[in-house]
Structure formats: structure tokens, C-alpha cells
Amino acid sequence: MAGAFDFTAAVPLLPFAAFLIALLVGHFAPRLLPKGGAIPGILATAGSLLLSAWLALTVSQGTYHTETIYTWVVGQNTFDLHFGVLVDPLSAMMLVIVSLVAFLVHVFSLGYMNDEGETGLPRYYAGLGLFTFSMLAFVVADNLLMAFMFFELVGLCSYLLIGFHFREAGPPSAAKKAFLVTRFGDYFFLIGVVGVLATFGTSRFLAVSEGVESFPHLAEQALLAAQGEGATPEHVAGFLDVVGFEPQTWFAILGLLILGGVIGKSAQFPLHTWLPDAMEGPTPVSALIHAATMVAAGVYLVARMYGFYALLPTVLAIIALVGGFTALFAATMGVVKDELKQVLAYSTISQYGYMMLGLGAGGYIAATFHLMTHAFFKALLFLGAGSVIIAMHHNEDMWDMGGLKEKMPVTYYTFLSGSLALAGIVPFAGFWSKDEVLYEALIYGSGESPILLAGYAMGLLAVFFTGFYTFRMVFLTFHGDARTDTAESPHGVGWNVKFPLVVLGVLAATVGLINMTPVAKLTGEHIEFLKDWLAGPQGSAYANIGYEHYHHLLVDFAGYGANESLGVLVPAAVSLGLALAGAGLAWRLYSVPEPVEHTEKLGGIKTVLYNNYYQDEYQVWLAEGVTLPLARAADTFDQGIIDGVVNGVSSVSLFAGGRIKRIQDGIVTHYAALLTLSLVALLVAFGLLGGWF
């Protein structure tokens, strides 16, 4: 009987088919393509969504699946390279999220792109289809190399879609920036992939059958051997001899290299600068790529190979600190932004910082939970912003809005739901997940790993700023009096805008209920469904990618110990209180009929914040002031010294040849004389050496 797993490959391939249709039909027979390619895209993503849901249902019954689809390099006496799928609770959950958001974004695009009379729609829908394909394939990848390939494709699609309006000045430049900055991180990722393949001879995340190994498991064995239990796997031992590092050090280097790609893609400090610029792309693209899915790829990758990271306390601490710092850093920049999408962009960076903090702090469940809730509420907020932008005739400045609450109630209430989730107000989704991230950081930080407390402190402070900028955005956009004529009589939006908003609005309000850890701890009820979902089966090979196993690794290898004496109420109350304080401050300042800017009160900080802490400036300086002269010097060395030697050798031959050719004068007598004389000379030489005389 054909089960859900037989159709695993169809989940990514359906959007790929939509991509091909939009591209080919759009190019050769545009008349045949209804709605500029939206219909095939919607059907394909709906199909993917149904298949993903079926997969998730099958997985929920405890049957997982891994399969090698195609081996594209067969190694002789070494490893193979292959495409394969791995369907486990984590990837099934992510498949549902990605295909759901992609489906809703396709529907929303009908309202945002088609109804607004945009041109070049087949190109747009082809980009969306290719993006959905790459992201879904990345999610089901069963090995690191395949994940890397689709990671890159996702980056390419981001480039194509950000630069969709390529005739304007901003988008192409933003697209290039996004591509280059993420490429910079991916470069380290590539080296990491090669390092993993060289060290372990495999890049699989999970091994289930005999004779197959997975790299997190091999790393675990090697570290156990270093502690004096068992033997280091042969291949790993051989490679460690070559590099001459202790296993712990070398694995940490590999982990950091891969983390480079994660930091680039998930827009963590210092490679976050591309994301705010990426808002030049069409708003549905921002929702799909720069909030809900592509940026999630980085965090998802860490979660996917958590069995490897959980072995490395140093790397975990770095992840936690980078995450905590990014969460705070981006939140402060979001406070002063005037444009709706810019606020959301910085909040995205900040929220991904929370996920990294959660992963680094050993909160695998918490981070995954936040990944899921964030995907819903941030897609919702971006689509809500898109709806506002349609209504405002593509003006994004919040100071030109105001009073939209009565005119577009559906958008307002769904946006409010998303904002409450983002700010972390109980009982909306973001509260449960963000609180859990902070709680994990707190208990492990006050337990055995005090460094996590720094991450916790930054994350906690960011909660206040999050509450503030979120409600500043809500009040400026929807409350008060209309400040311009456009806001007075906004453009209406159709069902295709409202439908995705309502679906996501309901999800943003309710999806947090699947893992109410504080309530579970207080009441003793068994309601942590996500935790059960990700716990992993006991006693099968799939247990190696379950939460239980990761928890053992964290305790045994990373030395994580929880401080169980802390209650759940006080930390939750503190973070909720801070969020409410931020929201309350925003209410005081901006919930008035005629709000004014209060940024002047910040004094000198205002300039720094408006300039995003001069991050772009120093990175441009790094490129122009350091890299460019270095490259020039290298170029001079190459042209002068390396090429000089080669050219010198050839000019010597040329000169010598030019002189020697003159003896070939065309007079046959001279040739004969030369022959004879040479023979005589040769004979004399032989005679002298041979001792004839």
C-alpha cells in the first residue's frame, strides 16, 4: 500500500513543477498562463501542504522515514554523495510551516501583485515556485551537502525576488547586498561541509541501516573515546592525526565554520545588514523569504544537526551569546524606524536572535517552538503590512498613516493578533515560545553554565524594546487620526488578502497553546504536545535525532545542568511585565490622536540608532579600506612577480631564438658545412673523452 512516505519527494517537486510552468509557459505562451502563473503556484503549494500534513500525520504515529533518492557521485574506497530525504518530527513540522506560509503567500500575491497590475508576473511566480522548492528540499535533506546545495539555491531565489523591480535603483543593489553578505557566511559553511566530509567520511544527519554512519554519531563516539570510553572511529582517528587537533577542538572549528552560514542566512550579528535592505523586495516576498522561511533555514540547520552542536559547549555558548546580543541589538534599532517594513525587518532579526539564544542555551524545544510561532506571526505581520501598503498606495511611512483601524478592521485585528504574539503578551503564540527560550537560558545559566546568563539578560532586555516598537508600530499605523489624505480614504483590499490574514491571525493567537510549559509545570497536566512530538522514539535508530538524546548529550558533553529550584511563574511574570511595560510606554507616547516623534529625547543615541550603529559604514570600510588595498597589493604581486617570472622566461627564449635563427640563412652549402663541422667536433669530443688520442 502506498503510504505518505512514497510521496515525500513530491512535496518539493510540486512547486518545482509550478516554477517550470511559470517559466516556460510564461516565456513561450503567456496567454495560456492564467493570473501570470499564480494558479499553478497556488495549486502546487496547496498540494505540498496537503502532502506535508499527511506526512506529519504519519510521523505522529511514530513511523519515520529516511531514503536515498539518488546517488550522484559513487566513491571508490571513499564516501558517496547522494540526495536523500529524512522525514522526522522536526522536518515534518517545518514542511507544514513552509508549505502553509508559501501557500498563503501565493494567495496573497494575487491581491498584492496581480490586482495592483504589476508586470513580469511569470518571473515573480517562477521565483516563488523555485524558492518554495529549494526550501522544502532543504528541509527534507538527509545530509549536509544536499542541505548546503539547497541553502545556496534559497539564497539565489532571495536575490532574484528582492531584485524583482530591477528597473528601480534600490532593489538591484539590495539584492546584490543580500546575495553577497549571505555568500560571505556560506563560504565558511562550504569549508565546513568539506571539513565534515573529510573528517567523518559522511555528511548524513542520521544513520538507520547497517554499514551507514552519521557524522553527529561519529563525533559523539570520538569524544567518548577522548574521555576514555570505547575507540575513536577509524576514519575520524586517521583524519585527526592529519590535522593534529584534539577532537573537541577540531569539532568546534567545524561547528563554527558551519555556523558561519547560519549567521549569514539567519541574519545574525554581524551579518544581519542585508535583511533590512531586503525589504526592497515585494512585500509577499518579504513575508515568505525574509521572515518565515529562508531566514529560518539557518536556525533550522542548527536544529537539524543539534546532535553535533550539543557536543560542543564552546560553540553553544557562542551561539547563545550571538543570539542574545542580536536580539537586543536589532530590537533597539527597530525602535526608531519610520517605515512599517523596516520595523518588521529589525524585529525579524531580533526574533531569530531569540531562536539562536534558545539553541545555544540548550533549549532545543524552545527554539523550535519559537521558530514555528514566529513563522506564523511574522508572516502574518508582513502580510498585514502588505495589506496596509496596498491601502496606502505603496507608501510605507508610518507617519503618513494613522486611523486605519476603522477603515480596515480585518487587517487591524489580525495585525493586532500578530503584534501581541510578537510582543509576547499572554496568551498569544509568541509569549509561550519566547518565554520558554528565556526560561531555558535562565535555568541553565543559573545552573552549570553561567555564561548563558549574559544571553538571558540581553534577551530579557530585548523583550522591553520588542513590546515598545511593536506597539509603536500598531498605534502609529492604526490608531489616532488619519494624517494624510491617503490614510483618510484607503484603497480596499480583496478576499485574497483577507483570507491569508485570517488564517494566520487565528494561528498566531492559538498556536502557542500546543506547548504551554509554564502551565504544564504548574498544574502537572500533560499538555506539552510539541515536546512529545520532538522527543523521538526510544530504542530505535531514530532516537538519535530526538530531544531525549540531545538532552543526554547536553548534560554529558556540554556540561549543561538545570537549576531546578527556580519556579516558572517569576521568570514568566518578569518577561511578561517587561513586554507590557514596553507596550505601555508606546501607548503613553503614541496612542494619541496626533502623535509626534519622540526620538529627539534620545539625544546622541538617536543618530547612532538611525544609522544602525554604523554597521553598514564599517562593513563598507572593511571592504574599501582593507580588502580593496589588500586585493590591489595581491594583484600587483600577481601581475609583477608571478607573471613577471613567466614573462621573463619566455622573453629570454624569444631573444635567444631571434639571434640563433640567423644561422639558418637558406644557403644549402652553409648547412652542409655546419653538419660536417659538427660531426667532426662530435668525433673529436668522443675521441677526447674516449681516450683515442
Binding site: 635563427k661 639558418q664 640563412d665 637558406g666 644557403i667 644549402v668 652549402t669 652542409a672 658545412a673 660536417t676
Partner: protein, 101 residues
């Protein structure tokens, strides 16, 4: 009474050197051809002399082949000389200097 083999060799060397001298000093292509004949025949003298010395007829048979080969070579050489004359109105080899760099 047999002549000693050394004298044949001396004769052969003298004829060969005459041929070489002719090639190096003459400018007329016909003289070239004649000089080359001299050199070939000096080789023939050697072949016959050693053949006689060892009492073996192989060398003499070989010299017959060389004579046939020389005839063929003269045919080719005369052809070249004809072309030379047609192109340069002369058989002076020092004039034909176009076949160079």
C-alpha cells in the same frame, strides 16, 4: 697477389673527402650531385673491400643495391635541379635562399 685492405680504406677516405670538399666549395648544383655520387661510391669501395677481406659476398651484393639507390637519388636530384633552374634561371645553390625563416 692481394692488395692489403688498408689501401682500399685510404682510397675510400680520399674519395669521400673529395666529395665532401666538393659539396662545401661548389655552387653549381650539378657539381653537388656529382660530389654526392663520389661519397656514395666511397662507401661502395668500403663495402666491396671488407667483403673481399672477409671472403663473404654479402657486402658486394649490398653495394649493388647502393648503386641502384644512387641512380634513384640522381633521378630525384636532377628533378630538383630542373625546378631550381625553372625558378631561379640558374643552377647556383647559393641563390635559392627563400626556404628559411
Amino acid at each position: 697477389m692481394a692488395v692489403a685492405v688498408e689501401y682500399y680504406l685510404l682510397l675510400s677516405a680520399a674519395v669521400f673527402c673529395t666529395g665532401v670538399f666538393g659539396i662545401l666549395t661548389r655552387e653549381n648544383a650539378l657539381m653537388f650531385l656529382i660530389s654526392v655520387e663520389l661519397m656514395l661510391n666511397s662507401a661502395n669501395i668500403n663495402l666491396v673491400a671488407f667483403s673481399h677481406f672477409y671472403g663473404n659476398a654479402t657486402g658486394q651484393v649490398f653495394s649493388l643495391f647502393v648503386i641502384a639507390l644512387a641512380a634513384a637519388e640522381v633521378a630525384v636530384g636532377l628533378g630538383i635541379i630542373l625546378v631550381l633552374y625553372r625558378n631561379f634561371d640558374d643552377v647556383d645553390v647559393t641563390n635559392a635562399t627563400t626556404m628559411r625563416w
